[in-house]
Amino acid sequence: MNRSPIFSRGTVFAAAVLCWAILQVGCSAVLVASYDETTDRLLTDLSQKTETAVVRADAGQLSAQDQETFFSESLGTVRTLKARSALFAKNEDEIAALAQLEQRFEALQKHGAPPRTSLTTGLRGTLLDLQQIQIAKKRSSVFSAGLKKSSSKP
């Protein structure tokens, strides 16, 4: 038996397109992990401690004891950050950058020389990279909050 369709092909196609659009709009794109204020604060503290140690090393004022304390405390902070970052989805780039930061600190500690400006450019570069990651996440988080606010307006 040949049944006549209730809806034309065009109507079905238009409905499918509309459903697809609604589904797309209903769920926002998430490509990076959300901004984490604690990670940002720990990184800022670590950068500040590193810059202080570098200034003291350049001035010949960082004792062997202070140097060892600086490396052990810094590695403790980096490992805390690594554990925390692994809790967030879509955070692979940050986890990789933190693994790099851990390697930078370990290499410098193993090398044994004071953390002078000349020896810490790689380390400070990786710290800068992680700060840029926080800046990008924060900008995105502020932008998403603005979108939610504007779309919830009646």
């Binding site: 926002s28 020896l119 450019t121 900008r139 979108l147």
Partner: protein, 109 residues
């Protein structure tokens, strides 16, 4: 009320471009800061070596560490580009949602 497709595309593109623009400026500032850090580091390596404050092994170590740090630089650029794409897509979707709501006369989305 029907949707004007060409007008909607223009609005979506405008919203997406605006959303990505801030990340573009951040990326420029970051790359400048990173280039400055490496340049100053290279100058410090040369100066410390000339003054005998570091030896040849230190120079090799310092430069290897700079090269290694490019891996985390790639991660920073990757996150910035992903965040820019995310904001651009969501801005465009937000415009599309508003257009659908206006067209149907009810705030469905």
């Amino acid at each position: 009320m029907s949707i004007n497709i060409s007008q909607l595309i223009q609005s979506m593109l405008g919203a997406a471009t605006g959303a990505a623009k801030g990340h573009g400026e951040d990326l420029k500032n970051y790359l400048e800061a990173r280039a400055k850090l490496i340049a100053e580091g290279a100058a410090a390596i040369a100066s410390d070596r000339l003054e005998g404050k570091i030896n040849d092994d230190d120079v090799t170590f310092a430069f290897d560490q700079i090269k290694e740090s490019e891996k985390s630089a790639a991660a920073a650029v990757s996150v910035t580009l992903k965040a820019a794409a995310q904001d651009a897509i969501n801005a465009a979707l937000n415009v599309a949602a508003s257009a659908i709501n206006t067209a149907v006369g009810v705030a469905i989305l």
